[in-house]
């Protein structure tokens, strides 16, 4: 007995070994000898599960990923084919004639580059000011006690709940007769609400920021206060650097929501100025400018529609590919967890 204890355990020499010259299989046998029936059953079950589950999981994930990626593949496949290929029964995925013509035509119809310019200008600008204003408001709600805080936060929740459609008409009238000015069709009617924390889905963003700042340790600020920092300086110098990843995630959300929005922008813009609006009205635009009101079968029209989709999502898709890591990993630290 003592002899066994004093023998030093030799290190495993290969992957197959666990030490003392035993293979994994032998070691398991010895362990199994000391187990009762229930334990053995449990071991068997978990081993079986460990083998079957990854296979099962692979199929589930593969299938679901397919459902998600499928439209993208379809989009790409359609956008680069000639319209005639749509009616060709032999063409399923790979077009018979590869062509860039459809893309070029769609770009012309959508007036792509100038539209893209306006959209980016609106989009990125609005997102930036929105994130800033929502962060400030969220911080106020998270860290300061003041009278009526519950009631005011109720307004934030109400902002999440009220559909935009309910308030779109009064908002239109507000911007149409904004004092002596008519702000309809100017970027201001997107910028003003965003800058004051009432833009698209601002309620949700204030909520996220509040949850996030609540989660940060209080000591951070107390230290800054003791050193003589005012609350605003503390916010800028201490809190913002700590909330970087959260800021990035919310900013990405904001960009995506502004990019995809067409309801709000169609209320305030009578001309098609953003990519989403262009896309919404693409079929009308196509028949007016490209087909000269001639009859093109709906099946063939798909080619241009899909090309339009591809053009519209390409910019954010590229952005997503680059920032994907922050988007999917950063969310875990973004304060969505209360």
């Amino acid at each position: 007995m003592e002899k066994v204890l004093t023998t030093p355990v030799s290190a495993p020499k290969s992957d197959e070994e666990v030490g003392n010259g035993m293979t994994k299989r032998e070691a398991r046998k010895i362990r199994m000898r000391n187990m009762n029936k229930q334990e053995i059953a449990y071991m068997r079950r978990s081993r079986l599960f460990g083998i079957v589950w990854p296979i099962f999981r692979f199929f589930i994930l593969f299938g679901l990923c397919f459902v998600i990626v499928y439209p993208l593949i379809y989009m790409i496949s359609c956008a680069f084919r000639a319209p005639e290929d749509m009616s060709d029964p032999t063409v399923m995925w790979i077009p018979r004639t590869l062509t860039l013509e459809v893309i070029q035509e769609t770009m012309e119809v959508m007036n792509f580059w100038s539209t893209l310019g306006t959209t980016v200008f609106l989009n990125v600008g609005c997102s930036l000011v929105q994130v800033a204003s929502c962060a400030v408001a969220g911080y106020g709600f998270a860290r300061f006690k003041f009278k009526g805080r519950g009631l005011l936060f109720g307004i934030v929740v109400l902002m999440i709940l009220v559909p935009t459609q309910v308030i779109s008409i009064p908002q239109y009238m507000l911007f149409r007769y904004f004092g002596p000015f008519n702000l309809i069709n100017t970027p201001l009617c997107m910028y003003l609400p965003a800058a004051m924390g009432v833009g698209i889905r601002s309620g949700l963003m204030i909520f996220i920021f509040r949850q996030f700042f609540k989660g940060l340790p209080k000591e951070l600020e107390d230290a800054a206060y003791l050193d003589g920092c005012g609350p605003f300086k503390t916010f800028i110098k201490v809190m913002i650097p700590n909330a970087k990843s959260s800021f990035l995630t919310v900013f990405l959300f904001s960009v995506v929501w502004y990019w995809n929005d067409y309801y709000v922008s169609s209320t305030f813009f009578t001309k098609n100025q953003t990519v989403a609006l262009m896309l919404k009205n693409l079929s009308t635009l196509l028949s007016q400018t490209l087909f000269n009101n001639a009859d093109v079968s709906p099946r063939e029209q798909i080619v241009w529609m899909e090309a339009g989709c591809l053009l519209a999502i390409a910019p954010i898709l590229i952005m997503y590919v680059f920032l994907q890591k922050h988007f999917t990993e950063g969310i875990e630290r973004s304060g969505l967890v209360g």
Partner: protein
Amino acid sequence: MKMGYEKRKSMYGYGFIALWFVGALVFFLIPLVQSFLYSFQDIRPDTGGMVGGWVGLEKYNYALNVDPNYRQYLVSVLQTTLWKTPLILVFSLFVAVILNQKFKGRTFARAVFFLPVIIATGPVFNIINGNMASTGNSDASQFSTMFSTDLLGELMEFLGIYGISDGVQQTIETISENIFGIVWNAGIQILMFLAALQNIPASAKEAAQIEGATAWEYFWKITLPNVSSMILACFIFTIIDSFTDPNNSVMGRIGDLQMDWKYGEASAMAWIYFAIVLLAVGIVTVIVNKFVYYEVD
């Protein structure tokens, strides 16, 4: 002038939310009240603003009893939300649990699953959905066209549940036909559940392993209680997302009426709709809150 520390801090609090408050007042609260008032008026635009006379509840009567489509749309949107919401929740929790495990290609899988968050909210979704449906490429049939078989039917036959009861079969078929919509609407929910899953303390998992819990038991005893507070959040988010989706038929009807300058009717419809949304969210909150488990800190 000297103020107490607490008082000064609360003043700073007002300072932080002041900008938002002014914005909310001008761009949110006042329009909200205005639209409520519009719904009782015969409203039309005029230079300088809206003019109209009081007509009482006439517009509400119009929305519910006269308009040929509104009630029908309302019922259909409610129905869709009713059966889709639980499905989206179960699905997103399931996917989040899988994506939380360690395996090769996890980063890729995650990136793919969050892709809909980027694309699905815009008009792109409608177009691809519509285009694929018109070429027989959407939903479950996309597999069928690929493998040129009725995959779903065969699977059900294989499992021995083909034709057991029409009800079951119909449910399965509806679900499979809508899998596209469900997968594409679950992005944010998956994200939220994943965040909650990552907050489960490692000690809980370890304890469960030592006690010999099966994966099934682990899910019910550890995972579910820990994400239950997120279930409420996801529930509400899903309901609101579905109700406020500019693509649903009620929203479409309201938009059409606005185009026709029938602002009174549109406002009345929007408010009826909003009242229903509030009611739904309220009911869900009360019910789900009973089952939510809050860790006592």
